[in-house]
Structure formats: structure tokens, C-alpha cells
Symmetry: C2
Subunit: 375 residues, 2 copies
Amino acid sequence: MPATIRDVARASGVHISTVSRTFSAPHLVNPETRSRVLACAEELGYRPNRAARALITGRTHNIGLIIADIANPFFPPLIKAAESQARQRDYHVFVADTNEDPIAEEELVHALAKQVDGVLLCSPRMSNSMIEQLSREVPLVVINRQVAGLPCVTMDVGQGARSAVEHLLGLGHRRIALLSGPRGSWTSREIRRAAGVAARAGGAEFTVIGPNQPTETGGAALAEQVRRSAATAVLAYNDLMAIGLIEGLDALGARVPQDVSVVGIDDIALSRLTRPKLTTVATPNAAAGRTAVDMLLQHDTVAARGSRGGRGVTSDDRRTTAQVMLQTELVIRDSTAVAPADGRNRPDAESVIPGPHRLAGPGRPTAATGGVVAS
Amino acid sequence: MPATIRDVARASGVHISTVSRTFSAPHLVNPETRSRVLACAEELGYRPNRAARALITGRTHNIGLIIADIANPFFPPLIKAAESQARQRDYHVFVADTNEDPIAEEELVHALAKQVDGVLLCSPRMSNSMIEQLSREVPLVVINRQVAGLPCVTMDVGQGARSAVEHLLGLGHRRIALLSGPRGSWTSREIRRAAGVAARAGGAEFTVIGPNQPTETGGAALAEQVRRSAATAVLAYNDLMAIGLIEGLDALGARVPQDVSVVGIDDIALSRLTRPKLTTVATPNAAAGRTAVDMLLQHDTVAARGSRGGRGVTSDDRRTTAQVMLQTELVIRDSTAVAPADGRNRPDAESVIPGPHRLAGPGRPTAATGGVVAS
DNA sequence: CTGATTGCTGCAAAGGTTTGCAGCGAAATA
DNA sequence: TATTTCGCTGCAAACCTTTGCAGCAATCAG
């Protein structure tokens, strides 16, 4: 039913190649012919079949974006930034949600493989080796994970976690708990490592609770366990868990921040709306989305996959793959306060800093880590 | 670089058609041959090129989902439900975000057209005539809008708005304001109509403020205007605006619900997390997503587009297009209370009902509206 | 006036798959 | 033994484009 290039050719009395050129190389066709073809195309409602075009050019002008959980407000800013960046370059973004399921991740990469020019793999839960394997099927840029030999954009959550712990130490906390994230999360491992180091360096007890579902209910379910741990301060894998935990603690009669201080990570919009407003580590999500698209498209413009569309792949095939790390910043709000006085915590801690307070600039690539690594 | 069907054929010493059948019609090929082919395919890492397959079968096994704003928590449950429903039927969902922009909507439909078997158009902002035109290019199911001749799934926001207004009237409010939604929103028009009727029927003043951006900041920006209107109760187009408004009112020193009652629509997860917890009209988003996928696929399974893949389109071409409307329900929480006593409001109003309180069952299709309409 | 250039168009192959049809050998039937 | 049936495989067309190459007429340079 929908008109093909052949219909237009017939209607305007030219060869299909002329119709094709009318759209993809207008300067090669006589203005008179061109307008006639355009008129016919318009009338028939003709639209080039992008799938067929992709088959021969090797370019779909689509990019896939695979994320763990669309319901997590962490992702929308990243998605939107990626979309707008892609649109500027005349690309479209298709988003897909994996429900935190590594199997679904793999399946989606396969499903997308031939329908996009590259995939942004955001917060993958699958193994590094699987990612490497998939990267042979379709160009990949990994977000929130470092994989050797692949282009990655990460956020310096290690630094963020350290700042958060140091903030808590400064408030006198000496028993700090970490609610870790889902199994398979690179971010969670980084946070755990950095927070552990910082806590021990400050002479504090450090207990890890998890792995956990990185959701509000996931956080709420941990309230009891946190209480039992006798921690006076908690760092959560993300804001959603932190908010859930606060709710859960509230239900148990523990007040935040008087009894327990809570720090999240991400700085989602919601963290400014809850009471108390959440102290959290802000991650530069939008910048990450933009950067990832840039990295993919830069890669991508160099050499078209398959077919003779791209005239000759560069003989220098070892492409350099950049690994970028973006800065994070601690945002102090109302969910952290001086540790309650008891045997172990220091009552003489410095007083709480009121109101929002930013400690670092928003995610610029760090000079040290923004370098280039040969794949 | 990636292996094609030809490579596998060569490697296993059979014709490409046998390889093809190994995957798409295994029972037609000798078990022995089959396993040999499978082994070779495995070894070469062969995956059928879905785009090429789609070209001839006319089926991509993808469906597109176009939504207005991914950052609005209203959508994720709908998206997830659609995805899981689609996955059960062996389809994949590609989500795209339009930033509330009608132009982007149109462009995205075109971009998706040949790469999916159908598109779910959620909360469209473009004109009905444009939607009809696009529907000739690709099967469409419209969500949150009624378009004659097209399959639609809507939620009974009219009923919801009426319940909300009646709830407010029952609390003694006699000056009710409506924060309307974005231009082009069918839902917003429905709400406005129903709320207006109900308010006037209850003898209340009814003022409409808008159209507005349906976001938190959009709502916050209206606080002053609401104050000036002297309304004691406000119904917002969605929860996000309601929450923003509460923030805005708070900043102005007006307390919710003591000074002003606020009702939202959607019942997003967030509405349970803010203080005060939001009274709102719950919409069955997940059910809508599921239903829409069902409607699309039912349509879709009947007759494959183009090519000889589907053997013969049914001669009876006037397909019946269902229009389903799902029920909504008022959820009473803490953001509504008895109207403050003044000249115009009734001080003798019934007292506030404490705690969550559900008035209707969750979105089952109503018998009256779940019918079938010939296109 | 000849030869080269330019501007436009047509031809046909290619991209990776599916599928109706035909062919072939072996088994089952008569 | 002759004939049908059956199970499996190969052939080739088709899906809709893009694009290198060749052809053609008209223009230009010499």
C-alpha cells in the first residue's frame, strides 16, 4: 500500500535511480526533473524506506540506548541529553528498558544490532566478557562502567563516595553503613571500594548491606537492617534507595537526620522535593548522555560498516578508544547532621552546614582521566 | 565483518535457503543438517539481519512507543507494561521522547514507520488530522486521545475530574481553580470540560489557569496566580504540576491543605512520597500500556503489510477499530481538607476523610465505552 | 570542424534475507 | 516392478534502495 520508489518513478516518468538521487543527492538531478519527481512523491505520500536504505548504505541513522530501568529518575536527563545531541547530528535514539535483567540486555543488543549504527549501553549488569563479545556485533559505548578496549563514559562516583564519607566523618559519624546496589553494577563496586577506604582512613566502622534492588522499595526494606547495624550514617547506592530508606526509618520511628544521617547518590530532581531534602552526590547525567553520543558518532562517522557505502575503511584499523570520566559533586542538604552523642561517635563534631552547598564544579571531564587509550 | 547467511551456508556446505529454514522453519530441515548448520552459525557468531528479514516479510517484530516526556513519572509504568506485554508476544519496544513537541512527534513517526510494525502514540500533541494522515503510513494506536476511526485507549479522566471536584465540593470549597495542561492535549480538554460541569453543578466558581507546561516547575510558577484567584481548592492537570504548586504555595507562605486544597491526576509514585501526600486521581497506566499493545498486535497479526509474506490480506478490509476507555479512581490522601471558613465557603462541610481511601476499582474497561466502532 | 568537457539520466549489481516451486533420492504402496 | 508419496534441499525471484559506470546530447575549447 505505501508508495515505493518505483511508484514514484513510474508516475514521474523517470528511472528509479533518478528518484533516489532526487532525495539523496539533489544537486545531481535537473531542477525541472527534480521538482516533477518531488511533486509525484508528495502526491503519492512517498517516504524512502529506511530499512532498505540501511541495507545498502550500512547506515541507519539510528542509535540505540539501553538502560536498566526507565522508572529510575536517574535516567531521563541522560536520555534527553542523548536525544537532543543525536538529533543535532540527524540521528534518532531508540530507548529500551531491561528491568535490570542482564539477559534482557543481551537480547536487546542483538535485537537492535542491525537496526542502529551503534548502541549506548548504560549501567550494564552483564559481564565484561559478554560486553566485549557484543561489541563485535555492533559499535558500543558503555556508560557507567569501564571496559578495557571499549569507549566508556563514567562518572567519578569514587570521588563522590569519598566526599560523602568525609562529610559524614566531619559530622562525627563513626559507624557508617553502605547500601550497595545491584549485582553486576560497576558503579556499586566503585562506591563500595572508595567509601570503604575513606571510612577506614577516618577510623570508622564500615558495614556493607547488599546487594540490593536500587529502588525506593529496595531502600525501604533495609530500614530494619540499618537499625540493627547501629550505624548512625548511611550512604546509599542511589537517591531512590536513600529516599526509600528514609521512609522506612520514619515508619520505624527513627528520625532523619537527628537519629540517622542519610546520603544518596545521583541528585535526581526528587531529592529536592522530599522532606528532609536529600544530601547527595550529584552526577552529571546529561553530560554523560551527550558525551556518549559524541563518542559513538565520532567513531561512527569514520567508517561505515559493511557494503560499499562507505568508500574504503581506513587501513589504519586500530581505532583509538577514549575513556572519559566526569566529575561529581557533593550537594549538602538536610538529610545529614551531626552524629547523635553516644559511646562511639564524637559529640564534638563540627556543626552542620546549613542549606545547599556545592563542593565541586559540574561534570567536566577530568584532565587525568579524559585521555586516550589504544584498543 | 559480521557473518551473513552466506558465510554460514558456505561453512556448512548447504544452500543459503537451508540456513534460512534452519532458523525460521526448523521442522523442514533434516536434524543432522540442522545441527551442522547451527554449529557453524554458532561458531561464526551469525545472527539473522532483522532489517533484511523485515524487508521481505514485512514484519520487524518491533513496535514504536512515542511519548511526550520521559521525565514525567507518569509514563514509566505505561512503558514497562507495554514492554512486558510486547515481549510476551516476541516483540521489542523502542521508546522515543518528543519533549512535548508536535513537530518532533511527526518526525518520529516517519523515522519509525518502516522499522516497526506499528506505533503507539501516547498523549499526542499534534492535530487529529495529522494523526489520521500518519495512520496511513503505519498502523497506529493512540493513547490518551480519541481519534475517530483509529484504535484508541483512553482513561476516564472526565469521571476522575468529576470525582475530584465533588470531593472538593463535599469539603465545602466553592472557589475551584483548574491548572490546565499543555495545548493540544485531549486529556486536558476532557478534564476541563468535566470539572467545569461538576463545579458549576455544585454552585462553585470555576476558573481555568493555562495552558501550562505539565511539569513541576510549570506548577510552581502558578502559585501566585492561584493565590490571586482566591481559589481555596485547585485541581491540577497532573501530579507533577500539583506537587510543584504545593512547593510554590509553600514558598508564598500558603499551607496545603489548611489554606488551599490541591488535587492531582495520575497517582505517580512520587505523590505518595511528598508531604503532604497528594490526593489524586489514579489512572491505570500499566493497563493502558498493555491494552494498547494488545490492540496493535491484534490488528497487526491479522494482515502483514506489503510483500507476499502474509498470504493475502483479508478481502474484508474495513477493519473494526476498538476504542477502549479505562476507569480511573480518586485516591484521597493529605493534600485536601475542609475549606477555610470565609464569606463564600461553607464552614459546615463534612469533615475530611482520613487516610487513603479508594472510591472505584482499578482500571477495568467500562462496559459502556469498551465497545466497538466501525472505522 | 573536431575533440573534449559537462550535465543529466539509465542500467544493473548489490545488500541479506524469505519462500514458492521444482528436483531428487528413498521409502512406501500397488 | 512400476508408481506414488514423502522428506529434504536447491534455485531464483522478490523486497526497496543506493551507486559506480556508461551513455547521450549539448556545450565548449581549440
